[in-house]
């Protein structure tokens, strides 16, 4: 039989499918599974947001918006970023509404990378960074962080990987999958390196609303960092709006206007009804966001303490809704552990190696689940650990 393989580009053929897929297939066909594998809030989008979107449809707002997004929404984003994170971005030229933070990442890489440009990626990290860099013609360079260190970035490690081809570094704080939040001091160290080696910094702050201990510092608010930052965020996590696919990217106008070209030729604009929803979210949902934040914080406290008690050592994650405990003492690989835990006790987690080599020996557990489920999951994990 004739194959169609030769139709596929070399770049895409070499891309590995996300390792998460395998566990999805395994878990989706089982009954009675408690899933800690879900990378999204367990809250449904607040009703006033859904209602605002329904209203926009009723009123017939079904046409394209400006490429950059509804001006009114950009104004609200500007105001929000200023009030919440002390950032200053001009809604006219420096804010772009995207189809989720994922699309923002894609156009950021495509805008700044020449073929062969290297991007430093701090691992373990979100599954798509490396592939997006590759698709944009760049070369992803992994920089590992260590669990013993709470997955904090060591600035000396970063320097070791910098070459004359290094164009940018991407950081995610709070981090998926580790929940680690970088302190202001740590961000300043990264800023110094960016300055010294003239790097762009792509900052994924999609979980910025979900931090539980220290006040959060947004990277571009640091001195001189505005000009070299591309800040990416969105509504998915903090506002419980994953399915709406609505995010944004902000940057100095000299960069953002270039990104706008990539955006306008690929998606034209983000979905209009989702933009109206986001507008309502920013105007009237800060109390809901606070309510959800408190709820995650309590569950974080319960879950991380309980994991440590049953024998999975876990640093206290300062943000997002993930615990990233070590399973090294079991002698199993992450995949083995996750697969056995699923088959034996029907608890779904994501093996840490999916998020990069340095995630090996860890598993990602999302605590965005009801207390009832979390308590049951802890029981099952304890039983599992005793059985091996």
């Amino acid at each position: 039989m004739k194959t169609t393989n030769h139709y596929i580009s070399d770049t895409v053929r070499r891309l590995k499918p996300s390792g998460i897929r395998k566990f999805f297939d395994l878990a989706a066909n089982m009954d009675g599974v408690i899933s800690l594998g879900v990378g999204e809030p367990d809250f449904v989008t607040p009703w006033n947001v859904r209602e605002a979107s329904i209203l926009s449809l009723e009123q017939g707002y079904t046409a394209y918006t400006a490429n950059q997004g509804l001006f009114e929404l950009r104004c609200e984003i500007s105001r929000y970023l200023n009030k919440r994170f002390q950032l200053h971005y001009d809604p006219e030229k420096e804010i772009l509404v995207t189809v989720g933070a994922s699309q923002a990442l894609d156009i950021a890489f495509r805008t700044i990378l020449n073929p062969g440009d290297e991007v430093l990626i701090i691992e373990p990290c979100f599954v798509s960074y490396s592939s997006l860099v590759t698709l944009a013609g760049g070369v992803p360079i992994s920089v590992s962080t260590k669990g013993d260190n709470g997955f904090k970035i060591n600035p000396f490690d970063i320097k070791n990987y910098i070459t004359h081809k290094t164009k940018a570094i991407i950081i995610c704080t709070p981090s998926n999958p580790t929940g680690t939040v970088l302190s202001k001091q740590e961000l300043i160290q990264i800023a110094n390196i960016a300055e010294e080696f003239d790097l762009m910094v792509i900052v994924d702050e999609i979980y910025a609303e979900l931090t539980y201990d220290e006040p959060f510092t947004s990277f571009p608010s640091l001195s001189k960092m505005r000009e070299r930052s591309i800040l990416i965020s969105g509504f998915s996590k903090g506002f419980a709006m994953t399915g709406w696919r609505l995010g944004y990217v902000v940057s100095d106008h000299s960069i953002l206007q270039e990104m706008l070209k990539v955006h306008q030729y690929t998606v034209m604009c983000a979905p209009t009804m989702a933009q109206y929803a986001a507008l309502e979210a920013l105007k009237n949902c800060m109390e809901d966001v606070e309510y959800m934040r408190k709820s995650y914080r309590r569950r974080r406290n319960y879950f991380v303490k309980s994991l440590n008690e049953v024998g999975l050592i876990c640093h206290n994650p300062g943000g997002a809704f993930y615990a990233f405990p070590s399973i090294k003492h079991t002698g199993m690989s992450s995949e083995e552990f996750a697969e056995k835990l699923l088959l034996q006790e029907k608890v779904a987690v994501v093996p840490g190696n999916v998020f990069g080599k340095s995630g090996e020996g860890y598993i990602r557990c999302s605590y965005a689940s009801s207390m009832e489920h979390l308590q049951e999951a802890i029981k099952r994990i304890e039983r599992f650990l005793q059985s091996i």
Partner: protein, 167 residues
């Protein structure tokens, strides 16, 4: 009015949502020892800030327990010295009365009562409530269907619509 600590408020918020959580679980959630948590809960109970632990039940689904609920708007004459309190007390002591609220607006007391049949309620209103000295008038509204009660939606489960595993 009492000023509570942050931890006390947090415990209340947790228990209001799910009163079945154990003190041990709650202690982890609010980052205190089990003993401290138990003593805070006891203190809240003693001050009757925590009034009771109950379960929301949709009796309509249980054969033989259908029952009837009515909300009654009651106009009364307040008494010198005791205001509305005395008459409110006389009303809330009846076991079929589930709630009594003092209201602003067109009437004074809102009384919620439950009975097995409509005639039970008619009997209560005509025999017990209307005959009280201070009561000037009553208007009875029967509840036809409960959609949402104390923040809980009756006919909608908490079905998780998310995929089992996602990045």
């Amino acid at each position: 009015m009492m000023k509570l600590t942050e931890k006390e408020t947090e415990i209340l918020e947790i228990l209001e949502k799910d009163s079945r959580l154990s003190a041990e679980t709650i202690s982890k959630m609010v980052d205190l020892s089990v003993e401290e948590t138990e003593s805070l809960i006891k203190g809240l109970e003693d001050r009757r800030i925590i009034v009771d632990y109950t379960t929301t039940i949709d009796w309509k689904k249980v054969d033989g327990h259908e029952g009837v609920t009515a909300m009654i708007d009651v106009k009364v004459t307040p008494k010198r010295g005791v205001g509305f309190n005395e008459i409110a007390e006389r009303i809330y002591r009846f076991h079929e009365v589930k709630s009594v609220y003092l209201m602003s607006g067109a009437y004074d007391l809102s009384v919620i009562i439950e009975g097995r049949t409509m005639s039970d309620i008619a009997h209560f209103v005509s025999e017990k409530l209307s005959t009280l000295d201070s009561v000037i008038s009553t208007t009875t509204h029967f509840i036809l269907k409960k959609y949402k009660h104390d923040g809980k939606i009756f006919d909608q489960g908490d079905e998780d619509k998310r995929m089992v595993v996602s990045p």
